[in-house]
């Protein structure tokens, strides 16, 4: 376990970074520490749980494939135990498989492992400010799930029933490559409210309890009793 610290006067944002690949972990720590975050890092699920037991970080950054378990479990636990902690998943490709499964258990953002250091810091800052990042392919995946189809397309299960038509419009705009400003212009919103909508969307896609998960799986016909 290594800890990066910095001596900035402002109350530093605390981050728990869970990543088993050492070089990647160093790179992310460097990028975050340089930007003034207070980073604690863990390489395994067990270490991460120990850290979370000691203190609650403001942000949890976690990889999904860990040597002793899956990051999804960590996200779910953290979301239940520490509802104020913002959770981001670290993904190599930013593909919907990993990002959506993290969102449904409580993550509200994702970070690409090879992002530029400035982008990494900016994304975490935005997240803390309540703005969730979203990619065109993630938006595309979500809106395609909102279209009624006899068979759900392949990928992780997702219940989009709670999304409002406006939110779906926003997702369409993102999927087609429009900027937040353009979307805001098209839909008659203010530019600042669009990122907040994204976080709402993520929250709505979250499956809160096991029972709810079963219920939603039933609703979507994924399982049959």
């Amino acid at each position: 376990m290594t800890s990066g610290s910095d001596q900035r006067p402002s109350p530093a944002i605390t981050i728990l970074l869970v990543e088993d690949d050492a070089p990647t972990s160093w790179r992310l720590q460097d990028a975050l520490a340089t930007a003034g975050f207070q980073v604690t890092s863990a390489a395994t699920l067990a270490e991460a749980r120990a850290c979370l037991a000691q203190s609650a970080p403001q942000v949890l950054l976690t990889d999904l494939q860990l040597p002793d378990g899956h990051g999804v479990d960590l996200i779910r636990e953290t979301r239940q135990r520490l509802p104020d902690t913002e959770i981001m998943v670290i993904s190599i490709l930013g593909d919907e498989e990993s990002v959506i499964s993290a969102i449904t258990v409580g993550a509200t953002g994702y970070l690409l492992k090879d992002a530029f250091p400035t982008d990494i810091a900016a994304t975490v800052h935005e997240l803390v400010a309540g703005h969730s990042p979203i990619s065109a392919s993630i938006a595309r995946f979500i809106v395609r799930r909102t279209q009624s189809q006899p068979e759900p397309p392949p990928g992780p299960p997702l219940n989009t029933a709670k999304l409002t038509p406006r939110e779906i419009d926003i997702l369409w705009g993102i999927a087609k490559g429009f900027s937040y400003a353009e979307i805001a212009g098209h839909l008659g919103l203010s530019r600042q409210t669009v990122p907040g909508h994204i976080k709402n969307i993520y929250r709505k896609l979250e499956v809160h309890t096991r029972g709810e998960a079963v219920f939603e799986a039933l609703q979507q016909g994924l399982i049959r009793l």
Binding site: I92, A136, R140
Partner: protein
């Protein structure tokens, strides 16, 4: 039916003796049936006690007077104006306690008028049922008490005879009504009510068989039998005309019903047992037509003569023919139906013979006619048997249908299984094809970038280059994965992801990316758009952006997306990438004058555009470069360049 026929054909020779013995047995059985019929029919129908018999009469006929004993047959076939008069006596004990007395006439032909002590108490001509010589209708009349005298009383019967047979008067009973009435009731039930019931049944079967024939025109046997039944029913309700009326001629013609009806039954038997219709088959109906013509155009005498000398023998002849046909059927088919027909026809034939004997006064019976009754019963039995057979055939159709359902279900299951197999094979083939494509795409991009990473790392001093190459490799990997997603032919969705990647790529270089969607709806949707088209287009755009960033030192890159209408009026998507860099001079042959890398990049872009069927337009000058990609009307199905 055909099964039995086939059986007989195959093993006919070998089974000959067996068959002959069977036929002998059959005829013996028919003889037995005939004997039983004779014995049973010799038994007189119900009669009251002989205590009340009055048999001694004086007959006054044709002016002559003599004493006779009943039963008595008259000599003439017609006596309406001066009918034979039978006068007799009976004793009334004068005991009022015995109740009312009646006169019972169990059988007579054709009509009677009963007088007691000079007062007429009964005229049977008013009873239509009693007017038919073929019905054995009894009559009973209560003698009004005021007419009766103590001791001997006179009773006189006038016998009206109108043919076609001679007059007949059976024994007469005079006694207490309660003693006579039970036998009267029994006879009425047997000879009046039962024929009506059978006729009603026959009418129903006539309708059923007619419907069957209408629905199955290829089986005329049903229609023929329906006609026979219909005539039988008409005959049963036919009134014998006594007076001239507008319809009396028609009624007279209906006297031909018996020969016509037997003709129909003979036709039915011929058709039913599969005989070839004889060339002069219609002659079967000639006697019936003759009798009908006599009834229509001749006088009463001619009608009676025609019936007696043509109609009745025809019936007998046809009955014999029927018996022979059925015997032949028993011989060839040996089935239950022909056997049953055979027994029935034997009974009818026997009854007919007995009736004939009675008419010709060969047999001293009481002139009870049963042929008609037995014949109606037989027709009803035939109709019922056919209906039963038809119902059984329907059941067979049902079981055939259910077995067909099972067969179809089995076939369906097999088809489903093979369809699943086929689908799996198709899926496997698609997967293999996809894997090939993926390999090629990864080889084109990722492979090359990884090789360059290896090369850079071996040089050991170009860490910046390694990072760039690795980042390009990751970018390409994302492109490949992204392109696999189904975007439903909307290229805008692929460009949305590309925009993100391009912006991430350009941000460190401090190059702004202007994104402009000129046409609000973006570009036309191409259902035929495949992942490899998307990869080629996105890689082409990547090359344009990379060239602008790396080689042209641009500060600003503008991407605009629009839908243009070409000369033929077809909407086509158009993507333009413009930069404000220094450009690269194009040689007259289109090759870039700039460095090797740029030249290769240009070549690649042309080849990718060609593979997608898109048009590429490159304009480069000192003020920047403009790459304009016009998408095809329809994307090609096959990758022409890569095979």
């Amino acid at each position: 039916m055909t099964e039995a026929a086939a059986k007989s054909r195959v093993s006919g020779g070998r089974l000959w003796p067996l068959r002959a013995s069977l036929l002998v047995q059959y005829f013996l059985l028919q003889a037995l049936i005939a004997v039983i019929c004779v014995v049973v029919l010799r038994e007189p129908p119900p009669e009251p006690s002989s205590r009340f018999l009055v048999t001694e009469f004086t007959l006054k006929e044709n002016g002559a007077e003599r004493s006779v004993t009943l039963p008595h047959f008259t000599a003439s076939r017609f006596a309406m104006n001066d009918p034979p008069l039978y006068t007799g006596r009976f004793n009334w004990p004068g005991d009022e306690a015995q109740g009312a007395w009646s006169v019972l006439l169990p059988r007579f032909t054709n009509g009677v008028e009963v007088t007691v002590n000079g007062v007429v108490i009964l005229d049977s001509r008013r009873d239509p049922a009693a007017n038919r010589p073929d019905r054995n209708t009894p009559e009973i009349a209560v003698i009004p008490a005021s007419l009766l005298r103590d001791g001997p009383n006179d009773v006189a019967i006038r016998l009206f005879v109108w043919g076609p047979i001679t007059g007949f008067l059976d024994r007469l009973y005079v006694g207490p009504d309660e003693m006579l009435r039970p036998s009267y009731d029994a006879r009425t039930l047997l000879f009046v009510t039962l024929p009506v019931v059978i006729s009603a049944w026959q009418a129903i079967l006539a309708v059923i068989l007619a419907i069957m024939w209408v629905m199955r025109r290829h089986e005329p046997a049903y229609g023929i039998l329906a006609a026979a039944m219909a005539i039988g029913v008409a005959q049963a309700f036919l009134q014998t005309p006594l007076a001239q009326s507008p319809t009396s001629r028609l009624n007279a013609a209906l006297i031909a019903s018996a020969p016509i009806e037997s003709g129909f039954v003979l036709t039915f038997a011929l058709l039913f047992f599969g005989w070839k219709w004889p060339r002069y088959g219609w002659l079967i109906f000639a006697p019936g037509a003759l009798v009908a013509a006599a009834g229509l155009f001749g006088d009463a005498v001619l009608t009676r003569e025609a019936f007696l000398f043509v109609g009745a023998p025809t019936v007998g002849l046809y009955l014999v023919a029927l018996a022979l046909i059925i015997a032949h059927a028993v011989w060839t088919r040996q089935d239950a139906v022909s056997f049953m027909f055979g027994c029935a026809i034997t009974i009818v034939l026997t009854c007919w013979a007995l009736d004939l004997a009675s008419v010709l006064q060969f047999m001293p019976n009481r002139r009870i006619f049963l042929a008609r009754l037995s014949y109606s019963a037989m027709l009803v039995a035939i109709g019922a048997a056919l209906t039963w057979r038809f119902a059984r055939a329907l059941n067979q159709v049902d079981s055939f249908a259910s077995s067909m359902v099972t067969l179809v279900r089995e076939a369906e299951d097999k088809l489903k299984a093979s369809f699943v197999r086929e689908e799996e094979r198709a899926r496997a083939a698609a997967l293999a094809l996809e894997r090939t494509r993926l390999m090629r795409d990864l080889h084109d991009g990722l492979g090359g970038q990884l090789v360059s990473i290896v090369a850079l790392s071996e040089r050991g001093n170009a860490s910046a280059g390694i990072g760039e190459a690795a980042r390009a490799a990751l970018k390409d990997l994302r492109l490949v994965i992204d392109s696999m997603d189904d975007i439903g032919g909307d290229l805008m969705l692929a460009l949305g992801s590309w925009r993100e990647r391009a912006m991430a790529q350009l941000r460190p270089h401090d190059i702004a990316l202007d994104w402009r969607v000129v046409t609000p709806r973006g570009m036309p949707v191409h259902p035929e758009l495949r992942p490899w088209h998307v990869i080629q287009i996105v890689r082409l755009l990547d090359e344009a952006v990379t060239d602008a960033a790396k080689h042209a030192e641009a500060r600003r890159i503008a991407v605009s997306i629009e839908t243009l209408t070409d000369a033929a009026g077809v909407a086509r998507g158009c993507i333009t990438v413009e930069d404000d860099g220094k450009g690269f001079g194009l040689a007259p042959n289109g090759e870039a004058a700039a460095g090797q890398t740029a030249a290769r990049g240009l070549r690649n872009m042309r080849s990718r555009a060609a593979r997608c069927g898109a048009e590429l337009e490159l304009i480069s000058g000192a003020g920047g470069t403009r790459v304009r990609l016009t998408l095809p009307r329809r994307f090609p199905d096959r990758d022409a360049a890569a095979g």
